[in-house]
């Protein structure tokens, strides 16, 4: 069986005054219907990796790859129409902060309908579908949220609406780019739980992009650790404690533990060698 | 010091003196500006304008005020003798345009010299002190902004009497409010900066802080704005001249020259067209330069 997604030697570069700078430098992995985490600090290229898979590298940036297949379909030279058919229906993306990722001058309902009308026959059916999806992300009063503008919702509500919007067409792959980082800690767990359930129930593939190694280890099957645009280590989430790479160990160890642990917390030592 | 004025000295990562830092910053700005083709075209035009004004006496083949023979040299089309033709008083238009550059340059620089300090002072004082001072000063600024510039300038000139000096005063009076707004906004962002607090703790007076520390920080953005406005100032001055409220005849002011050629526009097109081209090229130059400066100082606007 072909994997859901195959990525080989993905590179993303941006022009600067001193020529092109690569922010993603040869990332390769393949993904089945499983939960893969991409972990790294800000600037490690993890978000650009996620965007490149959707063909959304912002101009003037450029993404190239030796292989970029989605269910066997080569995405490298996909036409705008092919991309449009793929995005939303097959691959979706949840971004960090609903304050920015929702259109501020459109009601949540209209934004949901944009996604829902693509897979429904009639508008009424689309609306039912959208409202049902709002309920599925555990919004108690879907009709109120449907009529609301984004600024009228709390961060957690907004992010649930965002997840609902992205799952309406029932995609095969969901890319979640720091989906809980902008939320309060208590809300984070709730949103994660909702995301977890939906992904499991619908048997989707998930790429979970995060800077939080601990969070990821409890939530995903496999972890890619990125540093300076490269994958420095790939391992099963359950084996994180046995990480080989000093960077992964550093990331893992500098998290505070409830049961005492070390004090002061060690700072992360970086080695120029890793970036080579 | 001058020994160190090399490329390395200018681009040093760690400048040794404040002067080196400042000069180095200016040099970097220049480097960025130099790659902007439009800005360079604008700069060239302005340089040519300045040269024209300085050497008008040498370059002009005829007297700008005293015309030739009214019977034979009146309203001549452009030729090798009269590059841009002659007007109804048999004066060589080319020579008049050359001398007119002096008036244009004078208007632009005087307005800038009067309006920039006023705007800076009002804006920084309002932003630095805040409270009711801010309220009163900004309300006054808003009132001036409530009039379209040309109309207010017209009313002032009507009251003061026509003439180039009064036109300059009127344009200056109506030009400072946007600079005050800008300077205030800049001041608000730096007012609470740590280095300002440090100077306050050293017991520096407010006047000293505003003049020595706030004004220099606002200066660059205000200068960019003034450059952008130069073209507008030239057009307003030309408009006043066209309406007979600016420079008085027989002075070779470009706007007034267009007004003079207006009645001959159908048969003798060059009389009104030539000075118009001069105004157009010069304000285009200022607009090109201003646009380029904005690119350099505010890269967000145009990537």
């Amino acid at each position: 069986m072909t994997p859901l997604l195959e990525v080989e030697d993905l590179r993303v570069s941006f022009p600067t005054r001193h020529g092109r700078t690569e922010v993603v430098r040869g990332v390769s992995f393949s993904l089945g219907r499983e939960r893969l985490a991409i972990v790294g600090e800000s600037g490690s290229g993890k978000s650009q990796t996620g965007r490149a898979i959707l063909g959304l590298t912002p101009p003037p940036g450029k993404a190239t790859a030796a292989r970029l297949n989605f269910e066997g379909q080569d995405l490298r030279n996909a036409t705008p129409k092919q991309w449009r058919d793929l995005r939303g229906r097959r691959i979706s993306l949840v971004m960090q902060d609903p304050k920015f990722s929702l259109n501020p001058v459109m009601t949540i309902g209209r934004q949901l309908m944009e996604a829902a009308t693509r897979t429904s026959q009639t508008r009424a059916e689309a609306k039912d579908h959208a409202l049902a999806m709002l309920e599925a992300v555990q919004i108690r009063d879907p009709l109120r949220v449907f009529k609301a503008y984004p600024h009228e919702l709390s961060g957690g509500m907004g992010q649930r609406a965002m997840i609902a919007m992205m799952l309406i067409p029932e995609p095969d792959l969901l890319i979640a780019d720091e989906p809980t980082s902008a939320l309060d800690v208590t809300v984070q767990i709730e949103v994660l739980r909702i995301l977890d359930r939906l992904v499991t129930d619908r048997g989707m593939g998930l790429i979970f992009i995060s800077h939080d190694l601990r969070l990821v280890s409890s939530f995903c099957d496999r972890v890619l650790v990125m540093y300076a645009g490269k994958v420095v280590e790939e391992l099963r989430a359950s084996n994180l404690a046995q990480a080989q790479h000093p960077y992964t160990q550093g990331l893992f160890n500098c998290l505070p533990k409830i049961e005492g642990g070390i004090r002061p917390l060690p700072t992360l030592q970086r080695d120029a060698e890793w970036a080579r | 010091m001058t020994l160190y004025w090399s490329r390395e000295w200018l681009l040093a990562e760690q400048p040794a003196s404040r002067r080196q830092a400042r000069v180095g910053q200016a040099y970097r700005t220049w480097l960025a500006l130099r790659t902007n083709r439009m800005a360079m075209v604008g700069l060239t035009i302005i340089a040519l304008l300045i040269l024209m004004a300085i050497f008008a006496g040498v370059l002009a083949p005829f007297d700008p005020i005293q015309g030739g023979d009214l019977r034979t040299e009146r309203l001549q089309p452009p030729s090798w003798t009269h590059l841009m033709g002659t007007d109804d008083l048999a004066r060589d238009i080319y020579s008049r345009i050359l001398y007119g550059s002096r008036i244009t340059l004078m208007v632009v620089s005087l307005v800038a010299v009067i309006a920039t300090p006023v705007g800076l002072l009002v804006g920084t004082i309002a932003g630095y002190f805040g409270g009711w001072i801010d309220n009163v000063l900004m309300r006054i600024t808003d009132i001036f902004l409530a009039f379209p510039q040309l109309v207010l300038a017209l009313a002032f000139v009507a009251a003061l009497g026509p003439g180039i000096e009064n036109a300059i005063i009127a344009i200056a009076i109506t030009s400072w409010p946007p600079y005050a707004r800008l300077a205030r906004a800049e001041t608000l962002t730096i007012r609470n900066a740590d280095h300002i607090a440090a100077i306050q703790l050293q017991g520096a007076s407010s006047a000293r802080i505003i003049w020595g520390h706030v004004v220099p920080l606002c200066l660059s953005s205000v200068i960019v704005r003034v450059t952008l406005d130069m073209a507008g100032i030239i057009l307003t001055a030309a408009g006043l001249g066209f309406l007979g409220l600016g420079a008085q005849p027989p002075q070779p002011e470009w706007g007034a020259m267009i007004a003079g050629g207006r009645q001959f526009i159908i048969d003798d097109w060059w009389v009104a067209t030539m000075p118009g081209i001069a105004i157009f090229v010069v304000s285009l130059g200022f607009n090109f330069l201003g646009d380029g400066l904005r690119d350099v100082f505010d890269p967000k606007v145009r990537k």
Partner: protein, 354 residues
């Protein structure tokens, strides 16, 4: 102080936010109009013309002179004179024009529709061309069409409007004969159209005089396009920069991920957001058209407020000059207020605050 009132209301929190916003806008309006009056009053004071002599003529006797001097309130302290002035203006008295011997307000009432018509047609042209041009430039950023829009805009910023007007008349009227010349109508139609609204296009249409209507169109098209070009320069530039800003926002990525068509992303998502600040831009350029109208009207012999103002300037008719200045200033302020109100209704974040 007056402008603190809105803040205090805010603390009480009794009114809905948008109403409070309108309330504070209204206070701003009153203060600004008061300031306008102060400015015109002061300009009136520095005039070297003796207002009494201007009213009675230089052959009047000393007693007549003194009587008018007292009647104009010139013996009173300056602040009282200002109050008298404010009172008069509030009662619609802008003084009498020396040139026409009619009340200035009446004169302005007669000429204003011509300016209104000209600037409205111009702003329509400027907006309908400027916004699509700006959108195009933003979407095709850095490419040829972007450069063309940019250069066209800079040319609009740089050419003196009265000069372009003269060239336009020379080319399109005198040489090519595509449009009609100066004025609002050909002489033949001038007395056949009754004044209903004062807007020539509307009046001729209402009366069903289609010949006259098309004649009016051929007269207005050149000056209106010229003025429209200037507002187009500004509008397209601002549209471009607002659009670039919006197209870089994350909600655009969201829309792309949803598979929304590019056309809908540009016109439905990005422009809808850019429209909020664009309203202010359009209102401001509408106000600036009043200024451009002063010069354009003199060129095209367009009997509007601008020509009235320049004619009064020529004959040192200060009442008329200050009256027109005041009206233009007030119109400017009113447009600003209107844009603020529209802003409130276009932006749900302001309209529906919690």
């Amino acid at each position: 102080m007056t402008f603190d009132a809105s803040e205090q209301e805010g603390r009480r929190g009794a009114l809905p936010p948008w109403l409070k916003r309108l309330g504070s806008l209204f206070i701003t309006l009153v203060v600004t109009l008061f300031g306008l009056l102060l400015v015109t009053f002061m300009i009136g004071r520095v005039v070297p013309i003796d207002p009494v002599l201007a009213a009675v003529g230089d052959r009047a006797s000393a007693s007549t002179y003194h009587k008018v001097y007292l009647a104009l309130g010139l013996d009173k302290p300056i602040w009282e004179q200002f109050l008298i002035y404010v009172n008069q203006v509030l009662h619609g008295n802008l003084g009498e024009s020396v040139l026409t011997s009619r009340p200035v307000l009446e004169d302005i009432g007669t000429v204003f529709p011509a300016t209104l018509e000209l600037s409205t047609v111009a702003i329509l042209i400027g907006t309908l061309v400027g916004i699509p041009a700006g959108v195009l430039a933003a979407v095709r950023q850095g490419r040829l069409s972007d450069q063309v829009v940019r250069v066209l805009g800079l040319v609009g910023y740089s050419a003196p409007i009265f000069w372009l007007g003269l060239l336009g008349l020379l080319l399109f009227y005198a040489k090519l004969g595509w449009v009609s010349g100066p004025g609002r109508l050909d002489v033949g139609y001038q007395f056949s159209v009754d004044r209903i609204t004062g807007l020539m296009l509307v009046d001729t249409a209402l009366e069903g005089q289609w010949d006259a209507f098309w004649n009016a169109v051929s007269h207005i098209i050149l000056p209106a396009s010229l003025l429209g070009y200037y507002s187009m320069a500004y509008i397209s530039r601002m549209t471009r920069s607002f659009m670039l800003q919006e197209l870089g926002q994350e909600y655009i990525i969201t829309a792309r991920v949803k598979g929304v068509s590019e056309r809908r992303i540009i016109w439905g998502h990005a422009l809808r957001n850019a429209a909020v600040p664009l309203v202010t831009v359009v209102a401001l350029s509408y106000g600036n058209l009043l200024q451009g109208a002063v010069l354009t009207e003199t060129i095209f012999a367009w009997p509007g407020l601008g020509m009235y103002l320049t004619n009064s300037l020529g004959s040192a008719d200060m009442n008329a000059v200050l009256g027109s200045t005041l009206v233009i200033g007030a119109a400017f302020v009113a447009l600003n207020l209107l844009s603020d109100v529209l802003y409130t209704f276009l932006d749900p974040r302001v309209r529906r605050q919690q």
